[in-house]
Each structure stands twice: as C-alpha cells, then as structure tokens.
Amino acid sequence: MQTTLTNGIADGQLTNAAKLANVSEDQFRMSNGVRVIDYQPTSRHAAPSNRYYLWLILPAVIVLACITLYPFFWLIWMSFHKVDVLKGDVWNNFANWRRLLGDRSFGNGWLLLLKYSAMCMLMEVGLGVLLAVILNRSKYEKVLVTLFLMPMMMAPVVAGLVWYYLYNSTFGWYHWLMQSAGILGEKSILGDTGTAMWGIVLVDVWQWTPLIILITLAGMKRVPRDQLEASMVDGAGEWRNFFQITLPNLYPFLLIAILLRFMDNFRFIDAILVLTGGGPANSTKILPTYLFDVSFQFFKLGRGAAIALTLLFVTIILGLILVKVFESPAGKVNQEGS
C-alpha cells in the first residue's frame, strides 16, 4: 500500500509547495528530492543572519531551561542535603547516597522495574507483532486498527481505576471471569504477592500493545516489495519470507518500540498507584513507585532526590541509545522508501 504521507508532507501539500516555489510539481520533486534532511541554505545572500535564528530559538530554550535545567541542578543539590522545609537544607555528608547502598527496597525496586518491563515488553511485542502481521493482510485493517488503538487515549490513571474495579474480588467482572475459567483459584489477583505483578502487567499490555501494532504496521509498509517478490520468485514460502526478509527489516522499528516502552515504564506509574500502590508486601513496588512513596508519602525529599538521580541517569543512557537508533543507517533507510 502506498502511504499518502510522504515523510511528513502529504501529497497535496507537496503540490502547494510546488506552487509556492513557482515550478511544476515534478520539477519540484526532482529538484528537492522528497525528503530533505538537515537542509542547508544553498545561496548565501538569501540566508538570514544567525542572529535572527537565535531570537527564534532563545525563548523556547530559556523556558525549557527554567523548568528543566534549574530543577535538575536543584535535584543534585537536594541529594546532598537533608531537606527541611522549615529549618533550611543541611549538608549531610552523603547520607542520602550512603543509605541507598543498604536500602533493600531500592535494589528491589530496580529488580521489580526490570521484571515488570520485561514482562510487559515480551507480551506487548509478541502480541503486537502477531497482530500487525495479521492486520497487514486483513481487509479490515483500517477499522480494526482504529478500534484497537482506543485504549491508548484513556488516561492511564482512569485505566487503572476501571481495571481496579473489574479486578475486585467481590464484584469485579474480570475476577469472576478468571475464577470461572479456573485460572485464579480463590485468590484476588491484586491481593496476592504472586499474582499482583500480573495484574498490573495486564493493564499495561491492554493499554500499550496498540502502540507496538502501530509501529510494526508502519514498519511493514516499509519492507521493500522487490525483495519480497524476488525471494518469492526464488521459491521462498511465506514463512521464510517473513522470517528472513520482513522480520529483519522490522528490527529497527521494534528496537525503537521497545526503548520507548521501556522509558515509559520509568515515566508512568499512574495506573500502578491506583491499582496496588506498590503492594501487597511491596511485590509491585517498582522503583518509580518507591520513589513516589519516599518523596511524597514520607517526604524524605533528599533521599528521594538521590533515587531520582539514579533513575534519571539510566533514562539518559536509554535516551542516548534511542537517538543513536534514530540516526542509524538502518533506521533511515527504512524511513526512506514508501
């Protein structure tokens, strides 16, 4: 299927662009290529001065610095102090950091975060790719995708609340469903240390599998048709085609999907807060949830800052990897064809 959106500009817009540039559309396509990356001004006398651009960049950068960079340095400051609202902050000789070393909830939080992410990712990627493959060949792709992506629009906290209600062990329909199917025994899914993690994973899978479907579908439209056809001519079956051509072409897309989801697991704990709040017996207290408790339940802002910095550190590393993937030749080649 040809996509109408060519690198962000719809075809109609391209026509407009051509009109504005006073050339025919074909000329326009030829002279500009369809995708122009990091376009450099070609003629020097027409290029506006750098100062003009500086004025355009500055407001956003200043605002952003005020609301992110300033808090970031404040965070570092807090992590070295005993934060006290009334008496003022006191230097406490790395006590916040030293406490992290012996803090079992901290280590446990990281482990649970990894476990939670791994469980989510395995299920979401598995389901998402499977569904994308099916949808890609389905007549009803458009309708089904639109229906499937509805959960993403729901506020995560509302999703958490609705699922909390449905999981309820006395009147929840999902609880009834699981018990009737003989899955759960007598237990309530969120009330048991063994199953609570599954409870929160299911909500995440429900809400975010559609994102993997969307990304994979977009990736599948980029798989070069000539490769597929060539290999079919050579006698490869559909399975072989899928595993040797489609799937390798999807890797960059899946990598992006996984990284984004992984970082979202760091960012969003809304659903978990209302579903379990980290319980029972800390079995779902993944690190961000623990951080929330330390900072906003016990108001240990200094210790919270130290934990937050470890979380930020890992996020930045993940971000660096993500940007590398964005820029990798594989990622670009796949974006080019359409």
């Binding site: 996509t3 690198n7 962000g8 817009q13 407009n16 662009a17 504005l20 540039a21 002279s31 122009v36 376009y39 450099q40 001004p41 003629s43 027409a46 506006p48 750098n50 651009y53 355009l56 960049i57 407001p59 956003a60 605002v63 952003l64 992110t68 808090p71 970031f72 965070l75 099916i134 060949r137 089904l144 229906l147 499937f148 992506l149 993403m152 629009m153 506020a155 995560p156 509302v158 609705v162 449905l166 018990q179 429900w206 969307l214 990304i215 579908l217 984004l260 960012r267 969003f268 809304d270 961000p288 951080l291 934990i307 910095l309 979380l311 930020l312 996020t315 930045i316 660096l320 940007v323």
Partner: protein, 292 residues
Amino acid sequence: MASSDIVQYKTPARKAVDILVGVFLTIYLIWTLLTFVMMFVSSFKDLLEAFKLPEIGDWLGVTLFFDFTPTFRHYENLFLDKNFGKYMMNSIISAGGSALISVVLGSMCAYALSRTEFRGKKDLLFWIISTRMAPVVAVMVPLYAIFRNFELVGTLPGLILAYTTFNLPFAIWILKGFFDNVPYSIEEAQMCDGANRFEAFVSILPLVAPGIGAFLILCVLFGWNDFLFASIIGSGGAKTLPVATVELVQPQNIQWGKIMAAGVVTTVPMMFLGLLVRRYLVTGLTMGAVRE
C-alpha cells in the same frame, strides 16, 4: 505480502489458519473493547446493580450484566454536587494552555533549528529530547520545591508550566522533523520575490499547519491525561479531571457508578481528539522516529 494478482487456491490447512486468525482477532477485539463497555455500562448502574455478579462458573449468568435500569444519576451528581464542571475547565485550561505555549514557542525554535547549523546543535537537541524522556516522578521532587517557593503549587499557571516540561520538548523535537521536510528553496523563492524573512517563514506555515494542529492536539492529550503532576503540583486549587476521579475513591463506601461516570467524562473527549489526529499518532508517540 503475496501479490494480490496471483490467484491463490485455499487449501484446507489455509482455511483452518484463516479461521484461527479470525477467532484470535475477535478475542483481541473483545479484550480491547470490554474494558470500555464495562466502564460505560457501569456508569449507568445504580449502586446495588453494580455489585450484582453471577455464581462462579455460571457462564449463562453473563446476562446479569445487562440486567439494570439505566440511570443518569451519577452524571448529574458529578456536575451538580461534585463540581466536575470546574475540574473540567481546569483540565481544559491547563492542558490547552500548555499545549498552546509549547506549540508556539516550539514551532519557532524548531523552525530555526531546522534552518541553521551551529556547533553543539546535536547536544542541544539531545538535551531537549532527554527532558522529554525524564521520568515525571524524578522531575517532580525539585519542581515541587521550586514551585512552592514561587507559590505556584495549586495554581493553574503552575500546572501549565509543569505540563510544559514534557510538551515543549515534544513540540520542538517533532516539529523540527516537520520543518526539515519543507525545502528551504520555498523561502528562498519568496525572498527573491521581495518577501522579508518573517513573511517567508509565514509562507511555509500552510505546509506545516496540519502537522502543527495535530501535535497541538497531542499536547492537549498528554496534559489532559496526566495524573502525577496534577495530583502533586495541582493539588488544592487546580484539580483536574483525573485527580478528581481518583479522589472519588474512598476507603469505605466506594461509589463505583460515580467513578465510572467520571472515567467516561475524562476519557470520551480524548477518544475523539485521538481519532481526529489518527494519522499523526505514530509519529507523535514515537517522537518522530516512525512515520506512517
């Protein structure tokens, strides 16, 4: 995959696979929509009706779910007694305000970043995207302390600023990708015809307008659906819909009908907005890495 012009004969195995696929799609569709159906239907149920559940294993008892007399009581109650009209206004102002600020500042910045090269540009861009990815819980600790000093906690401007921490980097990053795709020669041509720099910039706006509009809506969606910032920074004077919904949960006497109604009120507008920008969703949710 297989070219459609090749006539394919369906073997029995193929038919069996088709049926399996159909069943799987149906099950997944039910699993996706069931939660919505539950939310919508429960919001029209009275307290006692919401608690009705068939015996375990009694599959025919499912009909019990639809055995109720619909009531609009919960919705009336939310807006008449629980002040939901005001919370909705708060949501609209905070999400809309932040989206507007982000997109206006963001498109200026993105345009300039797309048209210039300078040393450290890559680092600047990485800093911008990393602020977007920073975990909200982590950022909130210092932001709360700072906002308290400036007396911004519990106010709408405070909440707008808080949402801008994730909306502005999003807008810059994603709109830069948009401007990158608009050839510079258009502006050049305009300037040759005597337009000044600003007019040249305005001349390409129609090209990016649909995108800008779509990402404005996505920014609204991000702000509207936020819970953490709203519950801490907005606590008190700037309660938004998600926070008000969660506050309906009380340890004793949980009003499920009311909570589900609040959930519907929070969700439905975003479902419409989401469908409106359907084409730009992938681009938006992947920070421009994947385009549809």
